[in-house]
């Protein structure tokens, strides 16, 4: 076969291209993080700065963020973590979706901590660490919390003569009554709640001194305090203090109702103040304020006592089949450092370190910093993690809604919930 100049040139070019391509192929492996989009946004946001930039440069590695909705992220993550070989290096998990049953899918982070500790771990609340600890095994380092505050539409409050921020839950009830009215031909609900899970309802139950499932896994929602709270919600629903379609309300519907002025009061995570006052979506920009949720005066014995507000805690975890566990731990250390916590808080994150609330950048951008810090030490999860938590929460909401619809009396509904939920609780 003749070797022609053109053939030789083509062969040479192909070889050179292949040689050049080799390093590129070697570098195509990306560090994969599975999370909700909010984690990517607060970790890499422009306002506070990108907390992953220095780590990426040091490791000469790109990060691929696989982001999904809250429920989907856990379902996909657990499915992925079950495989003998995984493709996810690090992940973010919410305590509500955890439990001892999924702990085997993740690395115990205590040996990692011993080998290369996290900066000032004692600044992170022990209860947040406990939320991701199962039978002594720590599977997640807290990264973000979403703690509830009490929101008021000040325009409507002025219109209806609600002049002061309620100092007790009795005053909240009175304000909700006053703020149930017709405005410009449209009906305004005094109070809005998300009802796809018990998280918003928990604040009202705890304001009455009650609870749903205690930390030692006892069902207590059949006690008089919780039953009184459910009776209040039923009464609100019957009298139109809650929106007519409140039983279909998720967080998004609450946000829309508050933005459009179809509801005047609600309890939601402090960070929602940005959505409520966003001039692009809200009819009341700058007019929706947040405060702490007060307890019933008759329960606390004084005005001004705070509800142990509902909180939820996202944490960073390493799947047991993570391809690069050491790098995953190094990124967890990076993202949980004091400086990264502040940067993420400026980007809109709920900081898990108390010291972040002292930083002037955080104070400037999060006017509720003091309020949030005040309630954090007593904040409580919706329920402690256990493998049947999802089913227990669904049963609870089913019985609460039956009571609201009048299909059962509040006490009878909670008795029924008790008989169905108790067999699901860890012994």
């Amino acid at each position: 076969m003749d070797i022609k100049r053109r053939n030789a040139l083509a062969a040479g070019t192909a070889l050179a291209a292949a040689a050049l391509a080799r390093p590129a192929i070697a570098q195509t492996r990306k560090f994969v993080i599975m999370s909700h989009a909010v984690h990517r946004n607060v970790s890499t946001g422009a306002r506070g700065g990108d907390s992953t930039a220095a780590w990426r440069q040091r490791n000469n590695l790109e990060i691929e963020w696989l982001t999904f909705g809250v429920e989907a992220v856990h379902e996909r993550l657990y499915r992925e973590a079950q495989l003998s070989q995984g493709g996810v290096d690090m992940a973010f998990i919410l305590e509500r979706y955890g439990g001892p049953h999924i702990a085997p899918l993740f690395e115990d982070l205590r040996p990692y901590m011993d080998a290369a500790p996290i900066e000032k771990l004692d600044e992170i609340s022990p209860s947040m660490l406990a939320a991701h600890t199962y039978r002594g095994k720590l599977i997640g380092i807290p990264f973000r919390h979403a703690t509830h505050g009490f929101f008021t539409n000040n325009v409507m409050a002025r219109e209806r003569g609600v002049t002061q921020v309620p100092q007790s839950f009795e005053e909240v009830i009175a304000a909700a009554d006053k703020l149930t009215y017709t405005r410009d031909g449209a009906r305004v609900a005094g109070y809005a709640l998300s009802m796809d899970d018990p998280s918003a309802l928990m604040d009202i139950i705890r304001a009455h001194g009650g609870d749903f499932i205690t930390r030692d896994y006892r069902f207590v929602a059949d006690q008089p305090q919780a039953v009184a709270a459910i009776a209040l919600v039923r009464d609100w629903y019957r009298r139109g203090v809650l929106p007519r379609n409140v039983m279909t309300f998720k967080t998004e519907e609450v946000i829309t109702a508050m933005q459009q002025g179809r509801a005047a009061l609600t309890n939601q995570p402090f960070g929602r103040i940005v959505n409520y006052n966003d001039p692009r979506g809200s009819r009341f920009p700058g007019e929706i304020s947040v405060a702490n949720i007060p307890m019933m005066e008759s329960v606390a014995g004084r005005k001004g006592a705070l509800v142990p507000a509902k909180t939820s805690v996202w944490a960073m975890a390493i799947p047991s089949n993570s391809p690069d566990k050491q790098r995953a731990w190094s990124l967890i250390r990076e993202l949980s450092s004091v400086e990264s916590t502040i940067r993420a808080a400026v980007n809109g994150n709920g900081p898990v370190r108390m010291s972040a609330y002292d930083d002037p950048r955080v104070r400037e951008l999060a006017p509720y910093a003091d309020l949030e810090r005040r309630v954090l030490p007593t904040a409580q999860l919706t329920v402690p993690g256990f493998d049947q938590a999802g089913r227990a929460m669904d049963i609870f909401m089913e019985e609460v809604q039956k009571a609201m619809l009048g299909a059962a009396e509040p006490q009878a509904a909670m008795n029924a919930a008790k008989s169905r939920i108790e067999p699901l609780l860890p012994s």
């Binding site: 429920e71 657990y78 085997p104 007519r244 279909t248 179809r262 049947q388 999802g390 019985e399 619809l405």
Partner: protein, 312 residues
């Protein structure tokens, strides 16, 4: 051929005759090889997953643990759960309302369009438009216009004295709305099948019936209906089977609420699998749905078998 030979040929077993090719030859390896890809595809995407689901329905399966054989425990749990029975009952109600509602509406529209109709093509395009709309978008749109406080349709219904469709609080209203939505989305399928069938009815037979003095109803009952009956049955069975899986209308409207009173079987299955991570229970639910679908389809399949083989 002798006079007695013909009955002997007719009495040959149907199965043996069915294995003959048109030329009278037996199918060889090459014929089976040509059929194999389709059969392998069916086995791969239908039979094997079905076997896997059946196997899972006998296990306790969740994340973070190996499957444990529990026999019929998942089925026992299913049958003991009042929510499952409510979901099954809701599915029965909604599916029947949807299938027969669609059939009547689809048939009516097909008859209307088959007759004299100006701008027929435009009308047909408008009628099948809902089928082109994504189900999620369709439900979101209807949910918005039927919103109890600010929905335009609900407001209009109130103004003309019809009252409101209180789908967010009244389970019956929610199921009615889900059924109406499903009918709105899927009627074009039934309409298209029946419209095509109506085009195949010979005009001369209809004319003969008219000449013989048949009125419109008699002409439809004794001429048109027998012709379109096979298509009607196909539409009925197809829609029964697909309607049995109704999910998005309910999930996007109420998520099965309030108090899980509007839950249907597919929503029950979704919760078991993706919220509670109980894949054994979810598989048992799936298998129950398969059995229900088979029960619905069985009479038609039996009739089809009789037609194809017994009289072959």
């Amino acid at each position: 051929m002798t006079a007695g030979a013909a009955p002997l040929t007719a009495a040959r077993p149907a199965a043996r005759r069915a294995r003959r090719l048109p030329g009278g030859t037996r199918p060889g390896a090459s014929h089976y090889a040509l059929l194999a890809p389709a059969q392998i595809l069916l086995v791969g995407i239908i039979l094997l997953p079905a076997i896997y689901v059946a196997w899972m329905s006998l296990q306790k399966v969740s994340f973070g643990a190996d499957p444990v054989f529990v026999g019929l425990e998942n089925y026992r749990a299913l049958l003991a759960d009042s929510v499952f029975w409510r979901a099954a009952w809701n599915t029965f109600l909604v599916v029947n309302a949807v299938v027969y509602g669609e059939l009547l509406l689809g048939l009516g529209l097909a008859l209307l369009v088959s007759g004299w109709m100006p701008y027929r093509k435009i009308v047909i395009a408008l009628l099948i438009a809902p089928y082109a709309i994504n189900e999620v978008s369709a439900v979101a749109m209807w949910r918005f216009v039927l919103e109890p406080d600010i929905g335009m349709v609900n407001w209009a219904m109130l103004q003309i004295g019809l009252g409101q469709l209180d789908w967010s609080a009244d389970p019956a209203d929610a199921l009615v709305l889900a059924a109406l939505l499903s009918i709105w989305i899927h009627t074009p399928f039934t309409f298209l099948i029946l419209y095509a069938a109506l085009q195949s009815v010979p005009q001369e037979i209809k004319e003969a019936a008219t000449v013989d003095g048949a009125n419109a109803w008699q002409s439809f009952r004794h001429v048109t209906l027998p012709f379109i009956l096979p298509a009607l049955l196909v539409a009925l069975v197809f829609r029964y089977i697909t309607a049995m899986r109704i999910f998005s209308e309910i999930w996007l409207l109420t998520e099965g609420g309030p108090a899980r009173m509007t839950e249907v079987l597919a929503v029950y299955l979704y919760r078991a699998a993706f919220r509670y991570h109980e894949f054994g229970l979810a598989s048992a639910t799936a298998f129950a749905m398969v059995l229900l679908s088979l029960a619905v389809a069985a009479p038609y399949l039996y009739a089809a078998w009789l037609k194809m083989f017994r009289h072959a």
